[in-house]
Amino acid sequence: QQQVKQSPQSLIVQKGGISIINCAYENTAFDYFPWYQQFPGKGPALLIAIRPDVSEKKEGRFTISFNKSAKQFSLHIMDSQPGDSATYFCAARGAGYNNNDMRFGAGTRLTVKP
C-alpha cells in the first residue's frame, strides 16, 4: 500500500518557468516531509524538508508548501534551470517512527528545456 502519492510522474518545463510537484499522504501520524533529488547514476540527495508546524519553507529557488488539513505538500522550483533536470521524490516519516518507516513517493522526472 503506497502511503505517499506523488504526481505528476513526469514534468517538462521551460527554462525560467516554475516546476510544481505534488504529494498527498494518508497517515496523519506523519510529521516529517523531506524532498530528495536524484540525478542519473547517483543516489538521492536531501533537497529540503518541512515539519507540519509551518505551512511553507523556502531555500533558495526551492519552496515546500504544506497543507495539513488536506494532507498534501508540494515542491515548487522557481526559475527552473536545465541543471534542475532530475527525478524528485517526496517522502514522509511518522511521529515516533524513524527512517525504517520512511515512505517514498513514486518519483517525478523533471526535464527543464533550455
Binding site: P34, K42, G43, P44, L46, N100, A106
Partner: protein
C-alpha cells in the same frame, strides 16, 4: 572524498549465483541502511543497522543478508540470485534514526 561509497557500481551475474555488494561510509554515522530501487524508480527500505540492532523489512527474502564487519561498513550478501532481484541497490547512512539520509551512488545489479 566520497562520504558513502558502494562497490561495485555495476554487477552482472547469472541466476543462482551468490554475490555481495559493499558499502563504506566515512561520515561517522551510527545507522546504515540498504534500499532497493526498482525499474520504476520506487525506493523501498530493506534493512537498517545501528551496531546494536538489525531491523529487517519483513518483505525482504531471507536470501538477502546484511553483514557489518565494523561501524563504517554494511555489506549486502545475496544468495541464489533471481531475475527479480535486478534493481539498483543503495546504501544510506544517518547520524541517528531520525536524521536525514545520505545515500551512496548505487549498485546496478542485473541478473541474467
Amino acid at each position: 572524498d566520497t562520504a558513502v561509497s558502494q562497490t561495485p557500481k555495476y554487477l552482472v551475474t547469472q541466476m543462482g549465483n551468490d554475490k555481495s555488494i559493499k558499502c563504506e561510509q566515512n561520515l561517522g554515522h551510527d545507522t546504515m541502511y540498504w534500499y532497493k530501487q526498482d525499474s520504476k524508480k520506487f525506493l523501498k527500505i530493506m534493512f537498517s543497522y545501528n551496531n546494536k540492532e538489525l531491523i529487517i523489512n519483513e518483505t525482504v527474502p531471507n536470501r538477502f543478508s546484511p553483514k557489518s564487519p565494523d561501524k563504517a561498513h554494511l555489506n549486502l550478501h545475496i544468495n541464489s540470485l533471481e531475475l527479480g532481484d535486478s534493481a539498483v541497490y543503495f546504501c544510506a547512512t544517518a547520524r541517528g534514526v531520525y536524521s536525514p539520509l545520505h545515500f551512496g551512488n548505487g549498485t546496478r545489479l542485473t541478473v541474467t
